[in-house]
Amino acid sequence: MNQESVMHYQVDPWNYYMMRVRRRRMEEEDEMERVMRIVSESAVVIFSSSSCCMCHAMKSLFCGMGVNTMVHELDQDSKGKQMEKTLMRLLATNSTTLPVVFIGGKLVGSMDTLLAFHVNGSLVPLLKQAGALWL
């Protein structure tokens, strides 16, 4: 088997490379689907880490507004690292991004985006629309 794959590599490196790329793409799509499935399960979904203090601040913010959130602690999830990478891809950033919040199944972003939405008054209508906040 080893010999075959080695010969395969020697004979057709381009195909071998394309095969690996395709497999990685499929894995990434699976991960993305998984994330999308999770975020559609609740009105407000926070991807967090139990040791991260900014995540605690975000949870406190929603708590203070009387909003129930579903929190995914990625450091306690076996697939946490891959999910974090998927989120980084979604936010188009190379640095660690937690916390990340989704409202009504749609991506809102990190803490600074959330605060900007809250200050300009668009957070509350968004929460009401997603059914996370009642008057």
């Binding site: 900014m54 913010l61 509350v124």
Partner: protein, 356 residues
């Protein structure tokens, strides 16, 4: 210097070998050494005459002892000279450093109200640990405050001369940009030393009374300028109330997050008396937390800037101008009050109060 040395040594050996001062300057060290050695070999027989007399072997042994002692003495003297030279050089450089520091303090005191206690030695430290980012921020912030004062004047002028809507709008935009400059400066300072920024030593001591994560509370400033904005439409009042509520909620959330960071830092530094070693690992973990601190300062400044921008959107140009002037005036008065406080005469404090 070296020329004198052998002569000193020689004169210690005997009174009979008296040397004129003039000889010192012309003779080379080597020549002098030879001379002194020759004279010594003539000398020696005089001293231990009682013991060995003119015995050739004893003379040679004594010769070598004497020569060795001379050589050691020379070495010691040379080392002592070098030590003295190094010490004097150290003194000179310290003197220069002192002069430099005195000049800087004088300059900073002239800027007076703005820098307050900023030259606290815990941040200046020795010259090896001066943080250039911090020094740059100090200078830039001093300039920023002076320019703030000028913008306040501009706004006052605009009101007094009944400037047009367009002109007023230009001034308002410039003042908002000026605040953006401050947030940019603070971000750079946070990268240089986040503890310095978050402690607020760069502000006057009275401003520090109201310190919240390296600056002012947005909700507090909102309440401050609200009376200056009358009359407000109902819609404006509703928007402002919502804004005040949002910023209060955001402030509380950030405060709670920061509390958690403090708690975890305390836990990291907790020392188990039984396993006192391996605190290097704890230090490494604690250092990572400082990055978290940067994040909180960044979010707090972000909140301040967003509140400022949104406020300017709710208000008309005229109201915004009045609000910004009120804000600038408030900080100016705080600084003035602070300098009055710091320059109060000490006698009034020191004199004992006599109670009957």
């Amino acid at each position: 210097m070296d020329i004198y040395e052998p002569f000193q040594q020689v004169s210690m050996w005997g009174d009979s070998f008296k040397v004129e001062g003039g000889l010192n300057s012309i003779a080379s060290p080597m020549l002098l050494v030879n001379t002194s050695m020759e004279n010594k070999s003539e000398f020696i027989p005089h001293e231990p005459r009682d013991s060995s007399g003119a015995d050739q072997e004893t003379t040679n042994k004594d010769d070598s002892k004497v020569l060795r002692r001379l050589a050691q003495n020379r070495e010691a003297a040379r080392k002592s000279r070098l030590r003295k030279k190094a010490y004097v050089q150290q003194l000179e450089t310290s003197r220069l450093k002192l002069m430099q520091l005195e000049i800087e303090i004088g300059r900073a005191r002239k800027q007076g109200m703005y820098t307050g206690n900023a030259l606290d030695t815990s941040f200046m430290g020795s010259s090896e640990t001066i943080n250039p980012g911090v020094v740059a921020f100090e200078i830039e912030y001093g300039n920023w405050v002076e320019e703030q004062h000028r913008w306040n004047e501009e706004l006052r002028n605009a009101f007094q001369t009944n400037a047009s809507e367009v002109q007023l709008h230009l001034v308002v935009q410039s003042v908002l940009n000026h605040y953006s400059d401050l947030f940019r400066m603070k971000a750079d300072a946070a990268k240089a030393d986040v503890l310095y920024l978050i402690s607020g030593v760069w502000k006057t001591s009275l401003e520090r009374l109201f310190l919240w994560i390296g600056g002012s509370r947005p909700s507090q400033l909102l309440n401050l300028i609200l009376p200056q904005l009358e009359p407000l439409t109902d819609q404006q009042i509703a928007s402002i109330n919502k804004l005040r509520l949002s910023s209060q909620q955001a402030e509380d959330a950030l405060s709670q997050g920061l509390d958690k960071l403090q708690q975890s830092l305390v836990q990291d530094m907790a020392v188990d008396p039984l396993t006192a070693a391996n605190h290097g690992f704890q230090m490494a973990i604690a250092l990572e937390k400082f990055e978290g601190l940067e994040g909180f300062v960044s979010q707090a400044d972000h909140l301040r800037q967003q509140t400022l921008i949104h406020m300017s959107r709710i208000l008309s140009t005229h109201q915004a101008a009045r609000g910004l002037l009120a804000l600038g005036e408030y900080f100016h008065r705080l600084r003035t009050l602070c300098s009055l406080w710091t320059s109060r005469p000490c006698d009034s404090i020191m004199s004992p109060k006599i109670t009957p």
